[in-house]
C-alpha cells in the first residue's frame, strides 16, 4: 500500500491524495493499492500547474510510512518539530500527530 503526496504549486504546501482529490490533512490520505498508486502518480506528474513533485510513500498495514520514510514524512505531515511552528500542520487540523 502507498500514499500519494505532493506540494501545491502556488504555495508549496504539502498535499495528500484523499482518494477523490488533494487535501492538506495527512490524516485524510488514502491508502492506495500499489498499481493504482503508480497510475495516479503518473497522472499527476503531468498536471503540474496544480502540484509539484508528486511521489509515493510505502506504508505499513497500519497505514504509517515504512520505517525508512518515517521521520521525514512525520515532519511533513505534522509540521516542524521545533520552534514557533511546532506541529503547525497538525494544529491547523485540530488533531494529534499522525504517522
Amino acid at each position: 500500500m502507498k500514499l500519494l503526496t505532493a506540494n501545491r504549486l502556488t504555495d508549496g504546501l504539502v498535499l495528500w491524495y484523499s482518494g477523490s482529490g488533494w487535501v492538506e490533512d495527512a490524516a485524510l490520505a488514502a491508502r492506495l493499492e500499489d498499481d493504482a498508486a503508480e497510475a495516479l502518480k503518473a497522472e499527476w506528474v503531468a498536471r503540474e500547474t496544480e502540484v509539484v513533485a508528486p511521489y509515493l510513500i510505502p506504508v505499513t498495514d497500519a497505514g504509517d510510512p515504512v520505517q525508512r520514510e518515517h521521520v521525514r514524512e512525520f515532519v511533513r505531515a505534522n509540521g516542524p518539530t521545533i520552534g514557533q511552528t511546532t506541529f503547525d500542520t497538525a494544529k491547523q487540523f485540530n488533531r494529534d500527530e499522525v504517522f
Partner: protein, 547 residues
C-alpha cells in the same frame, strides 16, 4: 555601508521584472517545473519540505536597521512571523508562497536587497568577519574588498554556471573569524596584500584550503581570482556532483600544480580589463567609513555598579561583548540562541527590536555572523545597560556567545528536503542539558556545530564538537566528531566513537565535558586545547555509557 548606484538599482529591477514574468508563466503552465526550477533557484527560491523557502542575500552579513525592519515586515506579512539566519550570513524565510515572491522581491529591492546567487552553481555571498571595521585586532577592513568581489561576481557571465557552487570568505584580522580555510577561496588581508587559500571546503569530503599565493596586491585581486576561477571552470569535474567542488580539483592536481596553472592563466589574462582601478577601490572604501562616534561620557564606576546589581547583565557584558578599536566602544553579540530554542530563528518582533536598538545604540548598523548570531558592531560602553534591558524584554539577552549553548545548527530535517536527520531538536536538547549559566561559564569556550546531512551546512567538520546526523534504516543516528576548529589554526574534526541516538547525545556530551573539566590544567585551557594536548581518543570512552 554600500549604497546602490543606478546600475545596481537597474540590475535588480530588471531581474525582478524578469522573475516576475517567469513566475506568471509557471503559474499559467507556460513553463514546466523542469524549466522553472533552475530559474527560481537563481533567484533564491527553493521548494523545501513544507513550502517554498526564499533565501535572501545579506552581502558579507552587513545589514542596516531599515533592512532588518523590512525583514520583520516580510516575516509578518508573507511568512509565519519569523525568519532564520544562516551560516552563510544570509536570511531564509521558510513558508513563502510562489505567487507572493515577485512582491517580496520588489519590497526587498526598495531597501537595496535581493535573493540572486543564493543558490545555483555560481559565486555565492562572500562572507567575512562579523566584527569587520570594528575589531581591535583588525589590520584592514575586509568589507570594501568583499563589496568589490560582490560587484565583480554578480551575474559574472563566465561564472554563472560553474561545475558547483563557489564560496569565498575574507578576513582582515589576526584572528580568523570568517573560517577562511574551509572555503573554496579564503582571503587573508595582510599588510603585504592578500594571502590566497584555495581548495578548502566541508561537505562529503572536507579539505582545508592550501595557501597558493601570498601578497597579491589589492589592485590585482580580481584578476587573480578570475584566474583561479578560470582554471576551476575549465577542469572542475562536471561529470560527478560529488567531485565537482574546487577542493577535489586542487587535491587531484596538487596545490603546487593548481597554483602553477593559475599563474599561467593570470599571466595571459588582460588584467587591466578586469582589475578595479585605484580610484574605484577608493570610491568603494568611502562607503565604509567609521560611524560618527558619539562622545558619550563613559562612567566605568556606573557600569560596575550596574553589573554588581544585575548579575545577568554582568554575565552578558563578560560573554557577549568584543573588544573594539576604540576603548569607549565594544561590539555586541545578540544571541539568537536562548536555551531550548532554535538557533538562528528570530521573530518579527525581535527583528523590530534589533532594528530599534541599532538605531538607538549602534549607528543603525547590524551584522549577521556565520554562527547565526546578530552583531551590533559599534556600541558605546555608556549605552550597554540600556541596550541590554531592551534586548532582555524580547528574549535576546542570552549571555552565551562562544559558549557550549551557542550552537550552530542547520535547519535539518525539520525544514530541509536534503536532510537525513533533524539537527535543531538536538541542539535544543543539548542547550537544555547545559542550561545552568554558571556551568557554561565554567566550561568556557566550546563550539558545537550540528549538521543534518553530509552537506555540512551546520559546519560540523569544524566544531570543537561536531555532530553529523545520518539516517540508518530510518533511524536518526548522530556521529560525534572531536577536535575541529575554523579559526586561524583550522583543523577538521575526526569521528570519535560510535554513532549515538538523539536521546543519548546530551548525556554523552555532559560526560565529555565533565572529563574535560577534570583534565584541564587551568580554566584558561579550553576544551579544544585539551583535545589537542591529549588527543581525541582521550574522550572516546566518555562518549558512551559505562557498561
Amino acid at each position: 555601508m554600500y549604497v546602490y548606484d543606478q546600475f545596481d538599482h537597474a540590475l535588480v529591477r530588471e531581474r525582478n521584472a524578469e522573475f516576475s514574468d517567469q513566475v506568471a508563466r509557471r503559474l499559467s503552465g507556460e513553463l514546466s517545473e523542469d524549466q522553472f526550477k533552475p530559474l527560481r533557484l537563481m533567484n533564491g527560491l527553493y521548494l523545501q519540505l513544507h513550502a517554498y523557502m526564499l533565501r535572501i542575500a545579506i552581502p558579507y552579513g552587513v545589514l542596516s536597521s531599515v533592512q532588518m525592519r523590512r525583514f520583520a515586515h516580510i516575516a509578518r506579512t508573507y511568512d509565519r512571523d519569523f525568519g532564520h539566519f544562516t551560516t552563510r550570513q544570509n536570511l531564509q524565510f521558510n513558508w513563502i508562497k510562489l505567487a507572493d515572491t515577485p512582491k517580496i522581491l520588489e519590497e526587498l529591492a526598495e531597501v537595496e536587497m535581493h535573493a540572486m546567487q543564493t543558490s545555483g552553481n555560481c559565486i555565492r555571498n562572500t562572507t567575512t568577519d562579523q566584527f569587520a571595521g570594528a575589531a581591535k585586532d583588525e589590520l584592514d577592513d575586509p568589507r570594501p574588498w568583499a563589496e568589490l568581489i560582490r560587484q565583480w561576481s554578480t551575474i559574472h557571465p563566465e561564472f554563472t554556471f560553474l561545475p558547483r557552487k563557489f564560496k569565498i570568505a575574507i578576513t582582515g584580522a589576526t584572528k580568523d573569524r570568517a573560517a577562511i580555510r574551509v572555503h573554496d577561496i579564503g582571503l587573508h588581508l595582510t599588510p603585504k596584500g592578500f594571502d590566497v587559500y584555495v581548495g578548502g571546503g566541508m561537505g562529503r569530503t572536507p579539505h582545508l584550503g592550501h595557501l597558493i599565493k601570498s601578497g597579491v596586491p589589492g589592485e590585482k585581486l580580481l584578476s587573480y581570482l578570475e584566474a583561479c576561477l578560470r582554471v576551476y571552470n575549465r577542469y572542475g569535474r562536471r561529470d560527478n556532483i560529488y567531485k565537482a567542488r574546487i577542493k577535489i580539483l586542487v587535491s587531484a592536481l596538487g596545490p603546487d600544480e593548481y597554483a602553477r596553472q593559475v599563474e599561467e592563466e593570470w599571466a595571459q589574462l588582460d588584467q587591466a580589463a578586469i582589475d578595479a582601478p585605484y580610484y574605484e577601490i577608493d570610491r568603494i572604501r568611502t562607503f565604509f567609513p567609521d560611524p560618527a562616534y558619539a562622545d558619550k561620557a563613559f562612567d566605568a564606576a556606573a557600569l560596575d555598579r550596574a553589573k554588581a546589581a544585575d548579575p545577568g547583565f554582568a554575565r552578558w557584558v563578560r560573554n557577549n561583548t568584543h573588544p573594539h578599536k576604540r576603548d569607549d566602544h565594544v561590539s555586541v553579540t545578540i544571541s539568537t540562541k536562548p536555551v531550548g530554542l532554535p538557533p538562528g530563528d528570530a521573530s518579527s518582533a525581535q527583528m523590530d527590536v534589533m532594528a530599534d536598538v541599532a538605531d538607538s545604540f549602534a549607528y543603525s548598523e547590524l551584522r549577521v555572523a556565520h554562527d547565526q548570531n546578530i552583531i551590533l558592531p559599534h556600541v558605546a560602553k555608556a549605552d550597554l545597560y540600556d541596550l541590554y534591558q531592551q534586548l532582555d524584554r524580547v528574549n535576546l539577552s542570552t549571555a552565551n556567545a562562544k559558549k557550549i549553548t551557542d550552537i550552530i545548527a542547520c535547519p535539518g530535517l525539520d525544514y530541509c528536503s536534503l536532510a537525513n536527520a533533524r539537527s535543531i531538536p538536538l541542539s535544543q536538547e543539548i542547550s537544555k542539558k547545559f542550561s545552568d549559566a554558571n556551568l557554561t561559564d565554567e566550561i568556557g569556550e566550546l563550539e558545537i556545530k550540528i549538521s543534518g546531512c553530509i552537506n555540512a551546512c551546520g559546519h560540523h567538520h569544524v566544531g570543537h564538537i561536531g555532530i553529523l546526523g545520518v539516517d540508518k534504516q530510518g533511524i536518526e543516528v548522530y556521529q560525534i566528531m572531536l577536535g575541529g576548529r575554523a579559526d586561524e589554526k583550522a583543523a577538521l574534526g575526526v569521528i570519535t566513537g560510535k554513532g549515538l541516538s538523539a536521546e543519548a547525545v546530551p548525556g554523552a556530551l555532559e560526560r565529555v565535558v565533565r572529563l574535560y573539566l577534570q583534565l584541564r590544567t587551568s580554566p584558561a585551557e579550553r576544551f579544544i586545547d585539551v583535545v589537542e594536548r591529549l588527543g581525541r581518543e582521550t574522550f572516546a570512552e566518555a562518549l558512551h555509557e559505562p557498561a
